[in-house]
């Protein structure tokens, strides 16, 4: 996957203060924060990359960018689900809160390399957040790509992220959108089933399809297998991986997956490399 140039000579373990300038609740436990620099500006995260977000006195976690750089703006956009002490503190952060940011780090989705091809974007749960930049990027240059298909799964209808945008995308004439839920839910007239099921129903041309997957690892594995069954090459399937990250810069050793350092050789990794590694238990 493409890797941007080395960041400047600044100390990479030292956070830069950014202020929360808006907070949008997505679901009962997820929010999207907009962060603006108070002084020093970091380079903008490209689709697929992540930043280390620090809450003073609590800790630091790796969160993928969920927005795209806007020309002339320095805002960062991150969607955070409260699953631990730090992410809960980030989730609760009100506008005005000052956080520490380090980054951007990691490999990108490299959307431009899929120019002229059909895009299949498969999101499971909060995996939709790191994929949102792919959708926005494809929409911003819609003619660069052929079909753009989104398959997004969530536990229940209320747990879809970016609900208003999803509804708009579902009506978009140039997007094919399949939303599906895992749990039977009253009041939902849409698809019920695991995300592999609408994915299996797509008629795809394996010669010109690039797939972007993000979600829980078993979900990505099942989806990748489903795509392979359709004849899509492992090299055309990209996953966003996750591991324990403490430094984000390839020095702490926590994020290893076999030979890969997920912070440096990922988070976006091709399935040809990731597939065999993910099938090994406790690797």
């Amino acid at each position: 996957m493409a890797s941007p140039d080395r960041t400047g000579a600044r100390e990479p373990m030292l956070p830069v203060p950014y202020q929360v300038t808006s907070r949008q609740a997505e679901t009962h436990d997820s929010v999207t924060l907009r962060l603006d620099p108070l002084g020093e500006r970091l380079p903008m995260a490209q689709p697929g990359q992540f930043s280390m977000l620090a809450v003073p006195r609590i800790g630091e976690v790796a969160i993928s960018a969920s927005g795209v750089p806007q020309p002339g703006e320095a805002s960062l956009e991150h969607t955070i689900r409260a699953v631990g002490a730090v992410s809960r503190a980030l989730h609760d952060a009100r506008p005005g809160t000052v956080l520490g940011v380090r980054g951007p780090f990691g490999t990108t989705w490299d959307l431009p390399s899929a120019a002229g091809r059909d895009l299949v974007i498969v999101a499971g749960g909060v995996g939709l957040a790191p994929l949102r930049p792919v959708i926005l990027g494809a929409l911003a240059e819609r003619d660069t790509y052929r079909r753009v298909c989104l398959v997004a799964g969530a536990r229940t209808p209320a747990e879809f992220l970016f609900r208003r945008e999803l509804d708009a995308w579902a009506c978009h004439p140039d997007l094919e959108v399949d939303l599906t839920i895992d749990q039977p839910s009253a009041g939902w007239n849409g698809q019920v089933g695991f995300v592999t099921e609408p994915l299996a129903r797509l008629r795809l041309d394996p010669r010109r399809t690039t797939a972007f997957l993000c979600g829980p690892e078993p979900m990505m594995r099942f989806c990748a297998q489903g795509l392979l069954r359709k004849g899509i090459a492992a090299g055309d399937i990209r996953l966003s991986l996750e591991r324990n990250m403490q430094c984000g810069i390839g020095l702490c050793g926590h994020c290893q997956l076999g030979p890969i350092l997920v912070c440096r050789d990922g988070p976006v990794v091709g399935y040809a490399l990731a597939g065999p590694l993910l099938s090994i238990g406790e690797l």
Partner: protein
Amino acid sequence: MTAPHPAGPVVITRDGLDRLVEALITDGYQVIGPTVRDSAIVLSELDSARALPAGWGVETGPGLYRLHRRDDAAVFAHSAGPGSWKQFLHPPRRQLWSTDADGGYQPAQTPAPRYAFLGVRGCDLAAIRILGRVLGEGAHPDGAFARTRQALFVVAVNCTEPGGVCFCASMGTGPAAGPGYDLALTEQIDESGHWFVAEAGTAEGERILAKVPQRSASVAEKEGAKADVSGAAQRMGRAMPSVDLPALIRESVASPHWEDVASRCLTCANCTMVCPTCFCTSTEEVSDLTGDHAERWQRWASCFELDFSFMHGGSVRQSGASRYRQWFSHKLGTWHEQFGSSGCVGCGRCIAWCPVGIDITEEAARLAGLDPGPDQDRA
């Protein structure tokens, strides 16, 4: 009396070694070298060469490390102490930054030490080179490490007495010290006296060596020193099997061998602490009671820790077998892909300091013996 800078090896006496340490201290270096403490030979700041472990040797074996009195006054005739030079280049605890109520982040004001390492063996010199690649040559180098290493003066020693757990020869890191020293010494001690064949490896090494009384080494002395070192290479107590370890490890991911080791391994993490190339760290947030002042610290971590791979409510590697496999596979296998060399330098510390005596060379041999080969089906 100092001689003008000779080309090639010189001989310095035991007193010359004292002068060498004095010269380094006078020059502003903090001399770190071996010394006896708590029934072991540890690395510590030395205020003179008198603190060296003269006449002390070690008996080492799997799960075994004992000091014993030698019948001579050799100062470098030991190996596999519990500490390695990494504790000075990559400290066990280091503050990264602090923040106060104003929200700004201040980098920690850590002094850049100017160390002179006295007594670095081939294995440990190779380990310093490896740490240099890991911590200093990535896209985001560790600044504190780089500064400390930049200012470092290395007095290497060529080993003439391999320890019971040493296998540097089979790892290509010793017993002769490889490149990267400012000075290299080969200790010679017998009835006729106690002296060192000394050789400079850099201009800075020459500069310091010039302050020590010396004379040119005779051919016999040079050859004698060389012979002692190459003789040591023949007397290693063990060897890493000469197989393609990265390939073997890739093929052995589902081997029953890991459960076998796990039945013995306590996941105590001793091996990672004493290993001179293990570099993993964790970060911690520390704050005072008012909550106004917070600091971020970095501390050594080990892949054997139960929550080392914690994510999403649980650790990826929970079983002891998976954690041992991770350490072994990284050290001898994936390190090559990540950093371009093996992570193991053959110092043997992990063997000596393992409470149950797990021997990494023996485990590699067992794995090779169990390897069904690339044609076999893997379940």
